[in-house]
């Protein structure tokens, strides 16, 4: 790995006045980093399945605790936000949606779609209701 030490740093965030473009961009990075951390929970869950029923029942108690259910609920929200904002990024890469009005509309579409998908998966699926605490 070559040393990237002399590459320039991004200007730090607190020098800017917050704008929706910037807030959405930060949310994309924050949700991505959060999902990165949660991917370790995913691997741990698969490893518990592979380790057999006894190990899995211990893991189940861990995953059913209130704290972990809150972490997973936030992961579901982060998934949907990152999913739709990611589509917006791919559209940008294809050269679409850069104009001020279409960029603003794209931002609204991302937020509405992510909120709707989150609400639907929470309320309409068995696992979503389990996250909210019903057995």
């Amino acid at each position: 790995m070559q040393s990237p030490a002399e590459r320039p740093l991004s200007p730090h965030l607190q020098v800017y006045r917050p704008m929706y473009t910037m807030v959405l961009s930060i949310l994309h990075r924050a949700s991505g980093l959060y999902l990165s951390a949660c991917s370790l929970l995913f691997v741990a869950w698969l490893a518990a399945i592979a380790a057999g029923p006894a190990a899995y029942s211990g893991a189940s108690r861990f995953f059913s605790s209130l704290a972990v259910r809150l972490v997973l609920t936030a992961a579901l929200a982060a998934f949907w936000y990152h999913f739709f904002a990611g589509i917006r990024h791919l559209a940008w890469d294809a050269g679409l949606g850069f104009e001020k009005t279409s960029s603003r509309r794209g931002a609204a579409v991302v937020l509405v779609c992510a909120a709707a998908a989150f609400a639907a998966t929470m309320c309409l699926t068995q696992a979503g209701r389990w996250l909210m605490g019903s057995p």
């Binding site: 790995m1 991004s10 990165s36 399945i49 592979a50 029942s57 990611g86 696992a127």
Partner: protein, 115 residues
């Protein structure tokens, strides 16, 4: 600048490839998980023991961990510098590689019926 020629382009293109792959794979995993009738060991082990489901889980997990590693590096390169940057990227790569090995072992074990 001391990046190798083409490194950044390849990194950029690979990150787009994993994000496009994760659109269907991420939806598959999320809905397959959310729509399981129960989340006890017998149910989830039987789900992931099916060959196609095991393959999809491996593809999803591999693409996600690769995409995660790419994303973490982009953020680190923007906000960390010098020796800390080199060390944090190394730590991220080690963590992601260890997770990928654990993932491969787990899926292989479940698919082979050993779980």
């Amino acid at each position: 600048m001391n990046g190798h020629r083409g490194t950044a382009t390849r990194h950029w293109r690979n990150q787009r490839m994993t994000s496009i792959a994760l659109l269907p794979l991420g939806l598959w995993f999320l809905f397959a998980l959310l729509l399981q009738p129960a989340l006890d060991h017998a149910t989830v082990a039987a789900w992931l023991a099916k060959p196609l489901q095991a393959l999809l889980a491996a593809l999803f997990g591999g693409a996600m961990l690769w995409h995660s590693m790419q994303g973490v590096e982009v953020v680190l390169e923007d906000y960390v510098r010098g020796r800390t940057l080199t060390l944090s990227i190394l730590l991220s790569r080690l963590t992601h590689t260890a997770a990928a090995v654990a993932l491969a072992w787990a899926i292989f074990t479940i698919a082979a019926g050993g779980a």
